[in-house]
């Protein structure tokens, strides 16, 4: 075996660090999808009537919809009846962290999310979602002092129904796509945050998603409302155990920014990607969209995608308010047989709206990485501006990089710029680093980190460190 082959095989077999399972007593809904499942979930969560009706309406839409066929990968067969739509650790209704099952706390500790420590350090407020339900939310009181609501979605339905009713489904309607409809019908929990007028959220809000049980799907829903003049930074992380079969993750995230508000949403996605033969792994089919509803508002998406067997998501921004700003920064790394079809949509409706898209794809092994984006400047949006850059880096000769940008302009005072490049790591760059005593493996990691730094720099500190590590681990042993 040549050195290259050896290195490539190390890359392929690199361990997935979060592949353990937690033995914990679970409450599982029977497999299958029908109205009874939805009633079961709704009843379990003790939901009001209007919520159940909303779910059932979504389910009706779901039944009428068919699977999309435009994606750049073969659509896997998904048996919606073979999935359990609700899985929760027994022992619910927690008053404080002390009541959380120690085994569960241990799990989050292993994942590097020490809920206990978080309590002490003034760091990040965490809402941890284990399979279907939110198990713990930290720092709630401290946030409440400033009027910030940060809780699980279930609690929000109970305690703040007026806010939920007002905003739920306004950005991602039930009819948006088949997975959004499914999510609307069966979503089990998720996070809810409301930042009141003029408040700058003093800490990062964070959700940590973990799929644990077998044969379950995770369908959570995040709703984030930033009222006038407020600011919030939100982080999201995900892991799952190693399993042979594919599991479905179909979440919906809705962001709403009113006048002068700013939302920064960061994701480090590290779902189990499947083994080197492409067996197992998570199907990450997520609908994420934000609306800059008010004037001068801003929504910024940052994502680092390294996990999942198939990643299929387009965090988008509807720029409705005048002078609003949308941003999308993405690093997507695929290896082995992973598939990623990701990108963004920037819909310019308001005057003088601006958007910026920086997408960096890295493909290795037998993987395929697609950027699919839409920039649409409507006639109602004079003076708008878009800049898009989507670069692809290819490592190895069995992978693919694809770009599908849709660019549309309907007025004469807006400017759109799009540029894309595809290349491999230049041999002279590696040679230069070799010369200075850096071995090829480290050189590749350095170059990739430099390549992705434009995006990584947008992440909050804690996440940037994690993301860098993740990239380095994923790239270990890959030689251009």
């Amino acid at each position: 075996m040549s050195k290259d082959e050896h290195l490539l095989s190390t890359l392929a077999t690199n361990e997935y660090d979060y592949g353990f399972t937690t033995n914990i007593e679970m409450e599982l809904a029977p497999k299958g999808l029908n109205e009874d499942t939805i009633r079961y979930i709704s009843e379990k969560k003790n939901e009001p009537e209007w919520m159940l009706e909303w779910r059932l309406k979504a389910f009706k839409h779901f039944l009428q919809m068919s699977m999309p066929d435009w994606q750049n990968f073969p659509m896997p067969e998904i048996d919606f009846q073979g999935i359990s739509y609700f899985a929760a650790p027994k022992k619910n209704q927690l008053k404080s962290l002390d009541e959380v099952d120690p085994e569960l706390l241990d799990t989050f500790n292993k994942l590097g999310i020490p809920l206990e420590e978080q309590k002490l350090l003034s760091g990040v407020a965490v809402d941890a979602v284990f399979d279907s339900v939110s198990v713990a939310t930290t720092f709630r009181e401290k946030l409440a002092e400033q009027g910030i609501i940060f809780c699980s979605f279930g609690e929000a339905v109970q305690n703040h129904p007026e806010l939920v009713k007002k905003y739920l489904g306004t950005v991602v309607p039930q009819t948006d796509n088949v997975f959004a409809a499914l999510n609307a019908a069966v979503f089990s929990d998720g996070s809810f945050a409301y930042i009141p007028k003029g408040v700058r959220c003093p800490m990062e809000l964070s959700t940590y998603f973990r799929i644990n049980s077998q044969n379950t799907g995770q369908f959570e829903r995040t709703l984030l409302v930033a009222d006038e003049g407020s600011y919030v930074s939100y982080l999201e992380g995900c892991t799952a155990p190693m399993r042979d079969e594919n599991q479905l993750h179909a979440a919906v995230v809705e962001l709403i920014a009113l006048d002068n508000a700013e939302i920064k949403y960061s994701t480090v996605q590290n779902w189990y990607p499947g083994d080197k033969e492409g067996k197992g792994g998570i199907y990450n089919f997520v609908t994420k969209r934000g609306i800059c509803k008010g004037k001068n508002s801003k929504i910024s998406w940052t994502q680092v995608e390294t996990g999942s067997a198939i990643t299929w998501k387009y965090p988008s921004v509807i720029l409705k308010g005048d002078n609003s700003v949308g941003e999308f920064y993405s690093v997507a790394l695929t290896r082995n047989k992973q598939l990623a079809d990701t990108g963004t949509k920037m819909i310019h409706l308001g005057k003088n709206t601006r958007s910026r898209i920086i997408s960096k794809g890295i493909s290795a092994g037998n993987s395929h990485n697609s950027y699919r984006g839409q920039v649409s400047i409507h006639a109602s949006a004079p003076g708008s501006r878009n800049f898009t850059q989507c670069d692809s880096l290819l490592i190895g000769d069995r992978c693919g990089a694809h770009t599908f940008p849709y660019i549309e302009n309907r007025n004469s005072s807006s400017v759109i710029e799009h540029e894309a490049t595809t290349s491999k790591i230049a041999e002279d760059q590696i040679f230069y680093l070799n010369q200075r005593g850096i071995d090829t493996e480290k050189a590749v990691a350095l170059i990739v980190n430099g390549y992705a730094s434009e995006v990584l720099n947008k992440l909050p500190m804690e996440f940037a460190v994690e993301a860098r590590k993740l990239l380095a681990v994923s790239l270990d042993g890959s030689v251009g």
Binding site: I407, I416, H418
Partner: protein
């Protein structure tokens, strides 16, 4: 599930295929008739492409198919094609409504063969090539042409011949009585080590009301050099759907410029280059200047299948009034096509709030040792440049014209024939001589 357009034009075409069309084609050999039958199946199943077809997403054929088009028998009385390019020394070949007007055409120099339908189809080597370069079972418009074309021409450049005089193929459309759909096609063969230039211009007399379906298949053999130019100077009575499929072999060079400078109501160009040999070079230039309610759609594919090839693509467009421009450029780099350099650029200027541009530059790359890039911009005339010119005493209108001319000069200055450059400039200036320019 097919989502095509199955309107009355479609119905009458389907009915006429066996009743009128096939009996006329009894002189054709069985292979060709089988090709026609297969293509007919595709077309009858898919119908005219609708906007639900990804390839036609931004181009709505329903708009032009509102008129009932019918297949008309080849016209016998020829109008005189006056169109010529001043200062261009070329061999003229004139097609009127898709039919060769022999008395208006020149004699070709040695080393060149040009054949009309009967002669071309009588030669099995040509009739076998027909439909074997442009192969796509999903393309309903291509299938329509294969099933229904009436006229077929072959331009054959013999091996090792350097043809200095360009060939000027004039496509003229004239009054046809009722709205007619005219399917015809061309096969160009550039043999090994040959070099030649083909200029094609499109014209119409203003009363044509024609939907022309033109398919051209081009084969560029090993080490051959072929320059082609397509200039559309037609009036608004022309709707054109042109499909060009080029296959290029080892160390060959193919250059094309595709300019829409006339007033044709509707133009759709499918321009596919399959680079089947290594070390090839391909340069594709394009410009589209639209006003009124014109719709110009350029779909291009550059498909790198073998290593060490270079391709360059530059398309520039200016949209005025309520016109609509579409650009879709695909670059494929296949697994074996290492050391590929592929560049693509599309720049657009919108001069009106009612104009629309849809640009979709697309890269699909399966090889790792490549350099590929694309760029796409949509913008306006640079206000600072405009101001600079105005401070020099140049009127706003004049300054705008200068800047627009400069914008497309980037494309037009790469046309290697001086007379053609001047002709293009004339067309451009005529186009800019409208009120649409100052509305912005």
């Amino acid at each position: 599930m097919e989502q095509g357009i199955f309107n009355s034009t479609y119905q009458s075409l389907i009915e006429s295929f066996e009743k009128d069309h096939l009996p006329e084609r009894s002189f054709e050999d069985e292979t060709l008739l089988a090709k026609r039958a297969a293509a007919f199946q595709v077309f009858s199943r898919k119908g005219f492409p609708s906007i639900k077809d990804e390839e036609w997403r931004f181009t709505n054929l329903n708009r032009i198919l509102k008129q009932d088009f019918s297949l008309r028998p080849p016209s016998i009385s020829f109008a005189k094609a006056e169109e010529s390019i001043a200062g261009l020394d070329a061999c003229r070949l004139v097609l009127i409504n898709g039919v060769l007007a022999i008395e208006q055409s020149d004699v070709l120099p040695e080393g060149l063969i040009f054949l009309d339908t009967q002669a071309a189809l009588a030669n099995p080597s040509y009739s076998q090539l027909l439909g074997s370069i442009a192969v796509d079972d999903n393309n309903a418009m291509l299938a329509f042409n294969t099933a229904f074309f009436k006229n077929f021409y072959v331009l054959h450049v013999k091996a090792k011949k350097l043809i200095e005089k360009p060939i000027h193929l004039i496509h003229k459309f004239s009054e046809a009585g009722s709205p007619s759909i005219i399917p015809y096609r061309l096969l160009v063969i550039a043999e090994e080590l040959s070099e030649s230039t083909l200029i094609e211009t499109f014209h119409s007399d203003g009363q044509a009301s024609v939907l022309a379906s033109y398919v051209s298949e081009v084969q560029v053999a090993q080490s051959a050099v072929l320059h082609t130019h397509l200039i559309n100077a037609a009036a608004e009575d022309l709707n054109l759907i042109h499909h060009r499929e080029v296959e290029q072999f080892k160390t060959s060079v193919y250059n094309n410029s595709n300019l829409a400078l006339g007033n044709a109501a509707f133009i759709r160009n499918n321009f596919n280059c399959r680079l089947k040999g290594s070390v090839t070079e391909t340069n594709l230039l394009g410009s589209y200047i639209t006003n009124g309610t014109q719709h110009v759609d350029n779909h291009t594919v550059v498909d790198h299948q073998m290593p060490n090839s270079n391709s360059m693509e530059l398309y520039k467009g200016i949209m005025m009034d309520r016109s609509h421009g579409v650009f879709n450029g695909k670059i494929f780099v296949r697994l074996d096509a290492q050391k590929t350099n592929a560049f693509q650029q599309n720049n657009n200027i919108l001069l009106s709030d009612q104009a629309t541009i849809n640009s979709k530059p697309q890269l699909e790359i399966f090889a790792d040792d490549v350099k590929c890039s694309h760029g796409s911009t949509v913008g306006q005339i640079d206000e600072q440049a405009l101001f600079y010119l105005k401070t020099r005493g140049i009127s706003e209108e004049r300054a705008r014209k200068m800047l627009i001319e400069a914008f497309v000069l980037d494309v037009h200055s790469r046309i290697p024939i001086k007379a053609l450059q001047e002709y293009v400039l004339q067309l451009l200036q005529a186009k800019l001589d409208t009120d649409s320019l100052v509305t912005a």
